[in-house]
């Protein structure tokens, strides 16, 4: 497939829009259907499509395995850290009230950071799983 020109050019055209759509799904999650899980899978789909067409080695250059592997616990840490922030600000775990001046804004911020954590973890987990299965039996 390496010399399939149409596929390669077509993919290059589509790839940025996939990422853009992922970001749309992520950030528009406040007002419409969406959120970290869906956005994470779509963003990971971009990397996987790239790997399918340009090869796993090229994919590893844009998404290095070491960094992706670090991102898995990082996202969960962001989520859990948001929960702990509630405790440090004198409220309960995962209580967002103290994050901003009023209730709605505080919850917007709380959910925003939590969803960001979800995005990071879901996206990187999908990529790590893909790498792990693709690598197997090659070496």
């Amino acid at each position: 497939m390496r010399f399939d020109l149409i596929l390669r050019v077509g993919a290059k055209l589509v790839l940025p829009f996939i990422l853009l759509f992922a970001l749309y799904v992520q950030f528009h999650g406040d007002y419409g259907p969406g959120g970290g899980f869906q956005a994470g899978v779509i963003a990971a789909g971009m990397v996987i499509l790239y790997a399918l067409i340009f090869g796993i080695r090229a994919a590893k250059q844009i998404a290095p395995p070491a960094i992706v592997e670090m991102m898995v616990p990082l996202g969960v840490l962001l989520y859990a850290g948001t929960g702990m922030a509630g405790i440090f600000l004198g409220d309960n775990f995962l209580e967002y009230t103290a994050f901003a001046h009023d209730f709605l804004h505080a919850h917007e911020w709380g959910i925003f950071t939590v969803e960001l954590g979800v995005l990071i973890t879901v996206c990187s987990t999908m990529i790590v799983m893909f790498y792990a299965f693709v690598e197997r039996g090659r070496s």
């Binding site: 616990p73 859990a80 929960g83 405790i87 309960n92 775990f93």
Partner: protein, 505 residues
């Protein structure tokens, strides 16, 4: 009278108890070295028993459950963590076992797991611990499922990292069975949600009592009860749903076996007790469906058939695994009889069995560390070379038989009283008879270990290192100590049993 001063963190202890191991797991993934991850995990796990003991003391002192509202949302709408006598007691058992294994784990893991996987192994250990604590502390049926899966998924990894290739197969089989069990549980919870529209345990029990007046709702509720009991029975390895357990325990790395034998089935037992007694209550689980009768038959079958399998086993780890199935039978027997004394015995046996079985598996882990095998043929005469290890093994083994003067006796005593209270004198006889079978299988390995000529493998063995002996002897000492001082186990169990039975009869 709180023994420890937690300052401002005090009201947050229920959530910290779950989040500390999970944070530990997250940070240990960043530490690529096994030693560093182990040090972190040591600090984390040692803090957990302190937290759970504080919670237990507080609950015992006030007599009121501690409620922690996640996100400060009120009970039926948000998830609450609820610590009452029962859950605080089980939390203490799980966190204590989780902590006591860790000093031992360093050498064992270094010998059995390759370096790149070591820090991941610690991660999985901490995740599993956090999941198990979460199952026990949560007051929400679906949250319990999530924690059940967190602990199960990490357990599959812990087992699969065993050295023999059969560890992979054992892990795969456990994955299939465990997932079916957990899925049965959420099918049951889903039906309950359809009937009541709530997932909070307390709210569920209130609404169920009125909802079952409608015959359609009643059928759905009973179906839910059936699904939940079968699903959790798979998880806790109740006979005949135990087939995944012997291989999983036999081929997992020593640390994982000791940890799982002490904690994993106990958390599932807790959840079953919680659902059957606190949520459904006797009106449904005893009168409408004969759940206790069913459990009674199955646990008696477990006590005998699994014990017989243990007698003829030639792999020491698998022998103890079958014995675990039998001991789960004792616990479930106490649950099935469902009176004050039997429930006390069952709950006391949760702690006693966790301590004894962990001690036994730790001793076998030390043997494996020295000679690389736990087959009877390789272990013959090992007692002369590793006297301290095998002496601790013998003490815990005597406890397992239920000899007076050990903790095993206390729990069986209460079970027997419970059986008499229930008017089932034949069950008393069966408890004694099944204990005699455990005399045979423990006696058989004792004979192999102490009275035979050392095998070629055993001849060159040395005594286990101190870091392994200390946790081992701590547990062996506790087995004897708890046989005399029952304040920690039976008295607390009796209070917990009061809550469960008090609401019913």
């Amino acid at each position: 009278m709180s023994a420890l001063n937690w300052g401002a963190a005090e009201p947050h202890l229920p959530i910290l108890l779950v989040m500390t191991p999970i944070f530990g797991a997250l940070f240990s993934t960043f530490l690529r070295r096994g030693v560093l991850a182990w040090l972190l995990a040591l600090i984390v796990t040692l803090s957990l028993p302190l937290m759970s003991i504080t919670l237990l003391l507080k609950v015992l002192e006030t007599g009121q459950p501690i409620i922690y509202k996640i996100g400060n949302w009120d009970a039926p709408f948000g998830i609450v963590y609820k610590v009452d006598q029962l859950s605080a007691y089980v939390l203490c058992v799980i966190s204590f076992i989780g902590a006591v294994i860790l000093p031992y784990a360093r050498r064992s893991i270094a010998a059995e797991i390759e370096e790149p996987a070591q820090s991941w192994y610690i991660t999985m250990y901490l995740l599993c611990l956090g999941g198990l604590l979460g199952i026990v502390i949560t007051g929400d049926a679906f949250n319990a499922f999530v924690f059940l899966e967190i602990s199960s998924l990490s357990t599959y990894v812990l087992i699969a990292l065993g050295r023999h290739r059969r560890a992979l197969l054992a892990s795969y089989q456990y994955l299939i069975m465990g997932t079916i069990g957990a899925t049965f549980y959420i099918i049951g919870v889903g039906l309950l949600y359809l009937v009541t529209g709530t997932l909070n345990f307390d709210d569920l029990s209130q609404r169920l009592s009125t909802a079952v007046a409608d015959p359609g709702m009643r059928n759905a509720t009973l179906t839910a009860l059936g699904f939940i009991v079968v699903g959790l029975a798979l998880k806790l390895a109740l006979f005949p749903m135990h087939v995944w357990l012997p291989n999983a325990y036999a081929y997992a790395p020593s640390v994982a076996t000791a940890f799982l034998a002490g904690t994993a089935t106990k958390a599932a037992i807790y959840l079953l007790i919680r659902v059957v007694f606190s949520v459904f209550g006797t009106a449904l689980s005893v009168e409408a469906l004969p759940i206790p009768d069913l459990l009674l038959v199955l646990s008696l079958a477990a006590m005998f058939l699994a014990s017989f399998s243990a007698v003829f086993e030639n792999n020491a780890k698998r022998m103890l695994a079958y014995s675990s199935v039998a001991q789960v039978g004792y616990i479930m027997l106490g649950v099935a009889l469902a009176n004050q004394a039997s429930m006390t015995g069952a709950l006391a046996h949760i702690a006693n069995h966790a301590i004894m079985k962990t001690a036994l598996f730790l001793a076998l882990g030390a043997v494996f560390y020295r000679i690389g095998s736990v087959l009877y043929s390789d272990m013959s005469g090992i007692g002369r070379k590793m006297p301290l290890t095998m002496a601790a093994f013998a003490i815990a083994g005597i406890g397992l038989m239920g000899t007076p003067g050990t903790s095993g006796f206390i729990s069986k005593w209460y079970l027997a009283i419970g059986a008499i209270d229930a008017g089932l004198y034949s069950v008393v006889f069966m408890i004694v008879a099944s204990s005699l079978i455990s005399v045979v299988y423990i006696g058989r390995i004792t004979e192999v270990v102490w009275f035979r000529e050392p095998s070629p493998a055993a001849a060159t063995a040395k005594e286990a290192p101190l870091s392994m002996l200390i946790p081992l002897w701590l547990l062996a000492g506790l087995t004897v100590y708890l046989g005399f001082d029952t304040r920690l186990t039976a008295d607390v169990s009796a209070k917990a049993a009061d809550i469960l039975i008090g609401g019913i009869r």
